[in-house]
Subunit: 354 residues, 4 copies
């Protein structure tokens, strides 16, 4: 019989807790890795370089082949560095924010070696997914690399990152609600087949956090729940073989904003606002989203940013052309009209957008 | 480089929704299966046989090789039927409760063909896991088979199953809280290494439902959340390569009860009571568990059953010997004393146990 | 995109050379195994028990949980032993001929643990394949287990096994020529789809040995080539997901002989004669087969056994009914007539059969 | 238990026979592929474009998204084309010689889509392996891509390719003898661990052809054996996770020649001569190699090329520095002296090199 089970790959190293950085060397050694290079994002080596490099150099079985300070996501820059790496390398470790993680993830992919992801802020699910956002021929482009082999998140670090990164993470995680609804909408319209396991993981990832009690969004258990949720979101895309379980019309609006405005906000911030908007359009679970984004302080924070309703309006019109093969709510003209009307009439949106 | 990613197998067919039984044939055909046999539990063919068999026979590419009414989990009976199955079979479909699912799952395993699980009640996570409970040499024994290739849960069927099955499912799902805590306790004592991804899935599975608002435990979205949670629990064991993420001291007490009392209750009922007890012993999240088991009506239901505190006391003493290789809270004498004291002093336990 | 590569599993430990038994412990330890049980075939412990058990007990990281002397391939016997094995076992090691390897391979499968195959004679490709031949309800039955995790063949042991086992191995390996031809014949008649990679491996396995120069069939390099060829034959079946690349009409005749005669010869002996016969029927590469079986002394050996042409005649008629789903040369009546005529007219067959 | 079997990936489509090009569309459709682009090497579209494109366009379920004429292996060129491919592509088909196969294989890898390899000449094992030879920063560099998903070799096409490609294929396949011997030499010196299964495949690949009788090297069965052998060689590297089973000191000499001479010969031609030389140095199976390369006409062909002993001498000195992490025979000074002496003293080498 030739029909096989659905096999998926998940990270071998997965450590999400306080005080993880001092153990980086142990986690890597235990997983059977020997030869590594470390890429730090801009300014990251000063903050965390010593503790991480020490933990590696203390292990006699590990060889630290090289270290880099690197934040450049232009493909031509990546290429020229990628093929100068030592041939005997086993894994590349990326430490920092979205850019260095994307860059080092792709350099690992080009060398066919493992990637170990150590995010210092978790503003979206990129740290745990196979996708990268690179600049190719001057344009921001999403490309596929491989799932991280390892994922090490130190909650003390995440807690101390600027608040905007936590808000952005929350905005990204809440977007699973509208994204999944878009996916089932596509299935209903015979434009896609939902992978039920991927949808289930994505749904659990958001439901477990939006229903969680907490007193402060920087408390450890809340942050752990957020990081776990973003991780599961990343894995749900791997299982689906597409970004559909984690990215729907709200992500298209954010991608459109990136092209429309001169200085885009953090991805998850834009996505969070667009999620609330689209949940109203979908008429699906908008009370839950409103409650969550209000109580966490997300909306209050957005109010300080000066984002403009006019830009959202332009982005809404532009959004369907970002992914012409999809058929989310925003691909239907009537829903775009409804969305633009809501921008002017919904009390919260009027408050947080200028 | 010879270090590979962690690969796991997940069900290829996964359908959890209302009105699924009429589509069984479509799901199987779409997955590339051709030749099937169907095993019904006792009395199940009368209830659901026609709709399922019709959906299969309507598909020209499917061959229904045979059907069985079967509820016998004695190994010698399974063996004698297993090797009479047609050689060209692709998959075995089991329909019903725990016994027929365990029996047909193991028959599929012995034939090295796929298993498709169609539970008509979801009183524990057996419908979505690789484990079976068989009778070998007269003794109830846990054995490993393979993960189901397909999982089809019709929520209309689950909704109409007797309430005790839903309570049992809830009792089983809430047990992840104490089980995971036991697992970290073992890691802390250097007796086990927690698989963080498995622990995360198990934790998300329980957290998403215990925090969920609902008005009635038989409403569709609540049942779907429960079934999804039990499914994720089953998969977390697959990932861990052991039952640890889903089964700790509370399961040991239930297994011990099975040996101690003449007529054991449903697995999840026993487990639910033991979970509350052990959460008090662990002093970890017992308020959450108490709230959930109270509000869902679980405790009220248990009160009607006449379970005895004396039996629990005996089971507590017996529990550690069920799995001598483990080191959960119940393996520590002091905790057993505490547990036995709580049986007599905790108000809820005094109410629900005689 | 959901179309995935064809993934196959191959043994992790593979050691085929002189003087391997003293290193059994090292091979197992290096592969990450800790807890093992050893099954010896009848009389095998006296010959090789000490060296193997010593090599295991010398390694501090290995635990020898139990040893058995076992040659019973009746399913009910296997079952009753299978579920008494210690729960923490990692791998079962089988040492000996076909029976103990089949028995211990299936016991490993029932426990879902790895199997390490240490054949002391290599009379067919069973030592390297996932299939077992068991006695179920009194009848010899082929069942599927799992591919061996490890394969350790000590050529000094193979060299000193009685000559009949080497002849049997040669008879089994040469059968790939007629088996592959039967498979393409089925494809040509739209009764099967050949897996080209599996066919290629099976073809290379036989071609590399039938064209090999040697002075004595017990010389090391010739035996190594034979063992490697039988191993590749076992793996070709794993890849194909069926026995087709390694087993055609010649195997059906041998299976039929097993039922027709009171005291069947070794599997590979019967298969070798049937291969020569079927190559004449197929009119395909019979000179090569004749040359190989003559020069190695296979035919001279067969001549001493007193096998009967009448039994072959009966087996030829019976052969197609062994596997009614297949459509090999022997399934065509005209070819059966031709085969029976050749039994009486071909000089070599008249010489070796009475 | 967490120790898993060794899993390898092999091509899903594998078709090696006469008259395959007309069926390309069928093979692709049957494998579940829908959307493809075709890359033709220089001049290849005129020869085979019509038959291949027709076979694709005839299939209603296949979409031919684009076609390219492409022979450029500079990384920057590949990159700029790679990310302009349509997003919905399933597979890239490469048709032609080494350059277009390397280029399109890497473009497929960068897009994370399947690669289907249709070589029109088989001068080395690149058509069936995951490696590519690209020009990066002006230098020829070996990089890893992924195993081909499909492999379609039309033997009529191979037969009609210029003879030099066949000689080059033979030179590459015979090199497995010295390569495997180098690998065991490294193991003996504790510089590597041989993967026995990979070594076995590589050994079978060469042994089956060097021992094969034939009357003309362009006869179908001989060419099929050669293509199968090169395919197995490609797969042996995949299994080993390195090029070691297929590439030893003889390949290092050829790589060195590429840097030393202005106009290098075909890879397999250089490798074949170096294989003979190194087998003399290793004092291992040189008679077999001499016989094979003499009888096939390889040496006679080489004699016409004007290759220079002085260049080989320089290449021998340079060879060890090509891969400093390895420890083959050529890495030992004494063997380099011996090799250089043999260049001047061996009759055949004196005849074929100037």
């Amino acid at each position: 019989m030739g029909i096989s089970m659905h096999r998926i790959e998940i990270p071998t190293i997965m450590e999400v807790d306080s005080n993880r950085l001092v153990h980086v060397g142990s986690y890597i050694e235990r997983a059977g890795i020997s030869n590594v290079a470390v890429f730090f994002g801009e300014g990251i080596r000063d903050l965390f370089g010593e503790v991480i490099l020490d933990s590696i150099q203390k292990k006699p079985s590990l060889n630290l082949l090289n270290t880099y300070d690197y934040d450049d996501i232009r493909l031509e820059s990546l290429i020229s560095i990628a093929f100068t790496l030592p041939k005997n390398i086993d894994a590349i470790i990326g430490v920092g924010g979205g850019k260095v993680l994307d860059a080092s993830k792709y350099i690992a992919f080009l060398n066919n070696v493992h990637f170990i992801s150590i995010p210092t802020s978790t503003s979206n699910d990129g740290f745990s997914s196979s996708g990268c956002s690179l600049i190719i021929d001057g344009k921001r482009t999403s490309v596929q690399a491989a799932m991280p082999f390892g994922l090490i998140v130190d909650l003390d670090v995440i807690k101390n990152a600027p608040a905007k990164f936590i808000y952005s993470g929350l905005g990204d995680i809440v977007s699973k609600i509208t994204a999944i609804y878009d996916w089932y909408f596509e299935e209903h319209n015979h434009k896609a087949k939902v992978d039920d396991f991927a949808a289930m993981l994505a749904r659990k990832s958001v439901n477990s956090i939006v229903r969680m009690p907490y007193t402060d969004i920087t408390e450890k258990y809340f942050l752990k729940e957020m990081v776990d949720s973003l991780t599961m979101s990343g894995i749900s895309m791997e299982i689906a073989g597409s970004s559909a379980p984690a990215s729907g019309s709200e992500h298209l609006i954010s991608h459109a904003l990136d092209k429309v405005v001169a200085f885009p906000q953090l991805h998850g911030i834009q996505v969070g606002v667009a999620t609330y908007l689209m949940s109203l359009v979908q008429e699906h679970r908008y009370e839950r989203i409103e409650k969550f984004l209000s109580e966490t302080g997300f909306f209050d924070y957005v109010e300080t940013l000066g984002m403009k309703a006019d830009d959202f309006e332009e982005a809404i019109d532009f959004a369907p052309s970002i992914k012409v093969n999809r058929h989310t709510f925003i691909h239907v003209e009537e829903n775009r009209l409804k969305a633009k009307m809501l921008l002017r009439e919904n009390d919260i949106l009027r408050r947080v957008l200028k």
